[in-house]
């Protein structure tokens, strides 16, 4: 079966033609686009989101992590707009509208302009070297009553694109039901990578109180976060219980060059060292996860390419079917890698792709007189329905694998059927 190889070859040739500009070229097939996206995805910096209800100290935390390098105009509490801190040679500030239109803003006079720019996000360019590897997104707080339509900033595309999150909560009212609800609606893949940060720990007046709140958080939110910790910008808190602010040795994956470099101010505050260590571990683990996932997808595609038989039947029809199938799989792959959708949406999208593929298949088959009476069981609606309706935490990947294996088998049978009938007809003729 040469189809996959041909497609990949075409893409490779195109990429070779325009070295390093894979994302500028206007790819015209789904696999082209998918591969370009995969490439971008693998090379773009890891993105950390600062999330939480309003007034929980997200922006202060951003400032603490980034340090003094943020340009003054960028030090705006993200009360109404998303702020993305990323690397640039010079400090700069720009506004990116929802459609992607970018507008550079004057650093000196930006402040008054910032109001009223809602549909999009601000990008703050910070000349910090490690921001080449990690970007920080400060998200406006949830839970604030709004006059207009409901506050769904956490559903913005850019928020969905982050890799892990720090959920900020007030130490004195930590992890309320409303926070839990919002968090559980966000992509489940974040849970094992993200941190729950209880801020304003100084409002709890003794080390014992802090320990008890933390114990409750560990108990109540253990399935939602990688780690829970407590920080306070007032430094240091006057007790010795937490003097051994030691980093927990959690991750075996410790990169030679840490993705994140600590800001000295962050290390000074209460809980700062713990936060830095946990964050470093989480980033390392996420990066490793990303690499593994990419490798897995590559392996699966290779395996499938080698496994599918090459039929010698009516070549045109077979090619059409396989082309459609390849497109389907590539979109799925792209969706999984790009993963800007919630997993459930990914399922729904995949199901939609399969449905349209199936329709195309039906059309193609009906054009061949010999296949007029063929009972088509491939991609049967019941399976699609199950795909659409089945939801369960953590089983997505296995479920998807099952479905793909099953579909692969079915596809092979369809192709064999076509071939058999063709042979039969030839003999009859």
């Amino acid at each position: 079966m040469k189809l996959f190889g041909r497609l990949k070859g075409a893409l490779n040739r195109r990429q070779a033609q325009f070295p390093g500009t894979a994302n500028i070229s206007s790819p015209d097939t789904a696999p082209d686009r998918a591969l370009a996206r995969l490439d971008r995805r693998l090379n773009r910096p890891l993105r950390i989101a600062l999330l939480g209800e309003f007034n929980t100290g997200k922006s202060s935390l951003a400032t603490l992590i980034l340090g003094a390098a943020i340009p003054a105009a960028g030090r705006i509490p993200a009360t109404s707009a998303l702020m993305l801190f990323r690397f640039s040679q010079q400090p700069k500030l720009s506004f990116v509208a929802k459609g992607g239109d970018r507008r550079e803003l004057d650093l000196a006079s930006a402040r008054p302009e910032l109001r009223g720019m809602q549909d999009g996000h601000f990008e703050v360019g910070v000349p910090l070297d490690w921001l080449r590897r990690v970007e920080i997104l400060d998200v406006p707080g949830t839970g604030k009553p709004t006059a207009g339509p409901r506050n769904d900033i956490v559903h913005a595309e850019i928020v969905r694109s982050v890799d892990l999150a720090l959920w900020c909560t007030l130490a004195t009212q930590a992890w309320k039901e409303s926070e839990k609800r919002t968090w559980l609606q966000l992509p489940p893949r974040w849970r094992s990578r993200s941190l729950l940060v209880a801020t304003h720990a100084d409002s709890l007046r003794s080390a014992l109180d802090r320990e008890r709140v933390l114990a409750r958080l560990r108990h109540e939110a253990k399935r939602c976060f990688r780690d829970m910790l407590m920080v306070s910008a007032i430094q240091p808190l006057d007790d010795t219980a937490e003097a051994s602010d030691a980093p927990p040795a959690r991750s075996a994956v410790v990169s030679a060059r840490p993705l994140l470099e600590p800001n000295p101010e962050l290390l000074k505050i209460h809980g700062g060292t713990t936060l830095w260590c946990c964050l470093r571990d989480a980033l390392d683990a996420t990066a490793a996860e990303r690499k593994e996932a990419a490798a897995r997808v590559e392996r699966r595609i290779t395996a499938r390419r080698d496994g599918v038989i090459a039929p010698s039947g009516p070549a045109e029809l077979t090619a059409t079917i396989l082309q459609g199938w390849a497109a389907c799989m590539e979109t799925l792959k792209a969706r999984r890698m790009h993963d800007t959708f919630p997993t459930d949406a990914l399922f729904a999208g995949f199901a939609q792709d399969l449905t349209s593929f199936r329709k195309g298949l039906e059309r193609a088959l009906s054009k061949t007189p010999a296949e007029g009476g063929a009972s088509l069981f491939f991609c049967n609606p019941a399976l699609l329905h199950a795909l659409n309706a089945t939801r369960g935490e953590g089983h997505h990947a296995e479920l998807l694998d099952d479905v793909i294996t099953q579909l692969d088998g079915e596809l092979r049978e369809v192709l064999q059927l076509i071939e058999q009938r063709h042979t039969a007809q030839t003999v009859r003729d």
Partner: protein, 738 residues
Amino acid sequence: MTGSDRGWEAARRIEAAVRMPQVGIQLNTMTNEVIRLGTDLLALLDNPLSARVSEALATVKAQHSRIAVIGQIKAGKSSFVNALIGRPGFLPTDVNPWTAVLTNLHFAVPGQPRQGAQFRFFDETEWHQLGQRADTVGALTEKLLPGHAQVQDVKDLEALHRRAEVRLGRYYHQLFGKTRWYSDPTPEIIERYVCLGQDIEHSASELVPGRYADITKAADIFLDAGNFAVPATLIDTPGTNDPLLVRDDVTMNGIRVADVYVVVLTARQPLTAADLSLLRVLHGLQKSRIIVFINRADELSDIAHQGDAVVSGVKAVLQREFPAGDIPVVIGSARWANAALQAQAEDLERLWDAEVSAYAHGRAVLASGEGLPPARTFDTDALAEAILAWSGVPAMMAQISSALLQGVSAFWLSELAATLLAVVEVVASSFRKEVTAQEEMLKQIERAQPLSADLTRRTAIVEQLRSVEREIGQNCGMAETRMRMEVAKAVSNLSSTLEEEVRSFAAEQAAAVRDAWLERRATRNWHCDGATLRNSLEAHVLRTFREVDKTLFLALRDLTPRLPGFLQSTASHIGTALTATPVVQANISPSLAPLGRPVVFDLDDSWWTLWWNRGQSAEENARKIEELVMAEFGPVATDLWRLVEANLQKHAFAAVRRFFTRASDVICAAIDREEKAAVMTQKLLSSFEDTAHISGDTRDRNLAEIRSRLAVAEAVVAGLRGYLREHSSPGSTQRAAP
């Protein structure tokens, strides 16, 4: 005066008047006044009228006010309650969510003990219903996305059962439906019943906090009057948070009938979406007596300057959300108040230096425009008083006191005063006539003619009064029938209007979905907002109430067509005493609770994204939306008009009855007086005929006695009139009908 002294003076000025004031002093004064005037009147009356009046007085004496404290978890409700009752540490508090059970604190409530605590356990059925209650979100998502299993709540419920078993042993079921009584409750005992407690592993011992909390339905703690000038019940509630689950049944049932609602917010996150949904639910119950306390002001990093911004921010949102009601907002810190009450010199000094002085200083600057350095040249008591004053708790007590004047107790008080006034006016006028008649008689004592004429006239008046009484009796029956018909008519109009509203809203939404699809707008951004429909349903209900109110007023006027005119001729001012109090203004407002019920349209956008992603056609989606609107809001509309029907019938009939009682009391008093006077005249007449002479002394004594009784009656009239002028129709200023 030095600058520092002035800083201290600024604190002192406020504190001087507020050192732990009593809650409800005005209401207490009002009650006492009505009871005093009523007792005075009682001395002038005979049975059966006196029995009725003394019964009414007893009812008023038995009234108590209910104050509910609600808010999100960890807002500091229990701490606030402790500060309010002046007993730091009485209700247990903790750094983690702690209050798990609705706790009623009864202060000198008539007919209840003055000390002790009673804990009621759930019965078997209630225990099993707990699970269904927790599953509101599950039920909603099931409606929106059938088959989308919500396993979380089931797990929670199992955990609850398991914990109860670990804490209470395998036979914990035997405790169901029982109550436990302690005559001397300590914080430790209370903690055992009302607090969440720690994790399972700590709960081996009998005395562990929260041992019984899971199965305790309510706690009642009985105390003496303390800081309350009127009998009162203070209700501390478990914290709410989830915007969809705030309508927690146990809490909502417990607070449904409160007179005053204290909503506790936190200064760091004043008025979150969850707080606002709680306020909306209260508003849906038509609770206009809401007071907002912004607690934990001590946690603001710059209290002096942020404090005012927080208050005005909260006020602005409240004004936007509830333009009709003027909700008072007080900022403060229950922690400061509790520290002040404990009065540990060292703590107070630290607290003043670290936190309160900056706040006092900042407020002084804002008030006078000049800077004042913080001062600390005073003794512990003065320090405690200053900190207490700045804690906002005394200000809250004042707010609660004035809110109590809008409550049910105050309403019944005014109703009673109006009835008493009607009765006493008849009595006074009758005395007045008798005095005139006797004086006349003294002049014309020689001639028997006028006396017998007087007797005839009085007999005729009594006859007429009796006929009016009969007429009122008949009219009362008629008025009830009429009200029944009017209510039925209004409700049937309302029900069809409401259903039509829901139907047209459903059609509108379906059309919107189709349009969005045709215009290729991203449907996942389309959102059905139930607020518009809820608002229009509310408007229709309120309009119906106003209409029925009008009819009721007419019906009551027709109830006694002859009485006012008739009494006008026999007794002046009687017409004014018989004005009716309309239903809506009677503080018995329509319940709009069904509007607060969560529907699938309240679910977050992510659920809806899933819904849109099911890949259905525009037509299917539109049809489904229409069905959903009908299925969700249809029952809301039905429940609304059923509630309106029940409410109107109950309250319209109650108003008719109340009015009838008042009218017949007045007639009864008039007949009583006329008959007495007739007997007197008869006596005079016969003695005149028999002996041709009665002693001048007896006559004078009679006259003097009647005069003195007249004086008492007139004093009561003046007292009641003054009272009603001052406190008339509570709440009507807020809810004046347009």
